[in-house]
């Protein structure tokens, strides 16, 4: 069982985001592993373990050569990584990024499954799993809250508004996993040390057969026409609870006539 996992390296979501003059996300500080992707990495490690063998390979796309987020996922137990990196990727939209990922999947070859998060924390377009699946002509099973693999098939519980659907497809397939489906392990000290020597295959879009105008701003076929600050909402009354604050809440609810 060989499983690929998309992992994005993002600016720390705890720090306020900023745009560059070119309207891309500022990525100057160290990038970290998107927490959304830690669920896919953990799921992949568990599925490979259950299957009794195989490799977990990471795929990451970044305009700069950042590897620190990748090292975190390698320290969790992934065997190796493909990092597609080049300044020409700056400004890439979701479809261009999906094209890069699909080519990287083909470069690794011999994969049974591609796991992704439902969306990244920074860009959150939420379309890449379906786009990559379409480019590879693989089935896509999205919004999984449970994943099982048996007899060459993957079966998921797919989150719906009403509950969940059981969805099944033959392999290879793309599966996007929702947050919280598994508990991501913390990298051990041994894992962190081992991650330093795990292979990272660093490639450029051109190495994957992608032309410059298929990625970055050229490939995105869109332009940002305005960026402005949103009007701020005003804060109202703030009280300290002295044991009776619930009464203020009740009074507020009465004022709104909801009780």
């Amino acid at each position: 069982m060989n499983i690929l996992v998309c992992v994005k390296q993002i600016p720390d979501p705890a720090t306020p985001g900023e745009l560059t003059a070119e309207h891309t996300l500022k990525r100057e500080a160290k990038l970290i592993l998107d927490e959304s992707d830690s669920f896919g990495v953990e799921m992949a490690l568990q599925l490979v373990d259950k299957a009794g063998g195989g490799d977990v390979t990471l795929i990451s796309v970044a305009p700069n050569g950042e590897v620190s987020g990748l090292r975190t996922a390698l320290a969790m137990g992934a065997a190796k990584a493909v990092l597609v990196s080049d300044p020409s990727l700056s400004g890439s939209d979701s479809l261009s990024t999906a094209k890069v990922i699909a080519k990287a999947v083909e470069r690794v070859g011999d994969a049974d499954l591609l796991l992704t998060a439902t969306e990244s924390t920074d860009g959150y377009t939420g379309t890449i799993p379906a786009q990559v699946a379409e480019l590879l002509d693989w089935p896509s099973l999205t919004f999984a809250k449970q994943v099982t693999i048996a007899d060459g098939k993957v079966t998921i519980q797919r989150q719906t508004e009403a509950g969940y659907d059981v969805v099944e497809a033959s392999l290879p397939a793309v599966v996007s996993v929702t947050a919280g489906v598994v508990e991501p392990r913390y990298p051990s000290f041994k894992g962190i040390m081992a991650a330093k020597n795990k292979p990272v295959d660093a490639v450029k879009p051109a190495d994957l057969g992608l032309a410059d105008d298929q990625v970055g701003w050229a490939g995105a076929r869109q332009k940002i026409t305005s960026v402005e600050q949103a009007p701020e909402r005003q804060a109202g009354e703030k009280i300290e609870d002295d044991g009776t604050a619930f009464e203020a809440v009740v009074a507020y609810l009465e004022k709104l006539k909801v009780v």
């Binding site: 927490e35 999906a98 939420g126 896509s140 099973l141 079966t155 809440v249 009780v259």
Partner: protein
Amino acid sequence: MKILVFAEADNGAPVTSTLELLTKARALGDVEAAYVGSDVDAVAAAVGEYGATKLYTADSQGSLVGVVGASLIAAVIAVGQPDLVLFAQTYDGRDAVGRLSARIDRPVLTNGYSVTVDGDSVSIGAQVFGGRVLVETQFTGPTPHLAAIRPKSFVAEPSGGAAATIEQVDLGETGRSTEAKVLDHHVEEREGPKLEEATIVVSGGRGIGSAESYGPLVDELAQLLKGASGASRAIVDAGWVPYSKQVGQTGKTVKPKLYIALGISGATQHLVGMKGSDNIIAINKDAEAPIFSVADLGVVGDVQKVVPKLIEALKAKS
């Protein structure tokens, strides 16, 4: 401007986000809809009432409706060439727009909250950085343009139009995409309204203390107020509640009459999903929590102490 809307329905009735898109689309141009699922006659009548003149449809044959929807729309585009195709940013809407975008090699603008048409040009507005910054993006490539719009961006209003004409569409080659089959639907019992349609939403965050506290604090208060219960990303990531309850950037947008945030610090990730609410009450231990910057009533206190008293007082009143 010819606009095609990807319509979704639940038990024969279009979902609210579909009606919102139709309402917006008919103000911008001529509207048609594409739909995969059952109850086609009822859906055609309902989308007609919101301005669609035609309903293209195909049978899902057990595959995911978003995936089949992509093939359906690709077939419609091959003969009808709409200028713009709108999707709601829902589970199936995201499957459909993602698949279609790769199939016809067109970019997609996502998380839109506005659509602006000026002559032939189309722009989509989106909120970034937790809604602090508004960005307008214009399509520069060939049509059709594809956009996914967050539910609650527009208000649905019927136009009183006649039922849409139904046109069955032959899907043609779908490749391996339709191999993913739905074997079973599982409906979880839910009391009260849907999260996105509720007039009152009560959400819980880390401050509720544990997964076990969600029922007695968040669900209980939501039920007492006949509202829906939601959650911050932190407790969804922790596995306390499912993803469908998440309010925020990577979850749902809600705009209820009243939003009550229990033990939620108010990361920008969360604020973007709820700060459009008419009224906001926040209860949180940390007086510096950002949630207080958007709250009309802020209570600095322990949710685990304040909420049981609040529930008791509300029960005594009813």
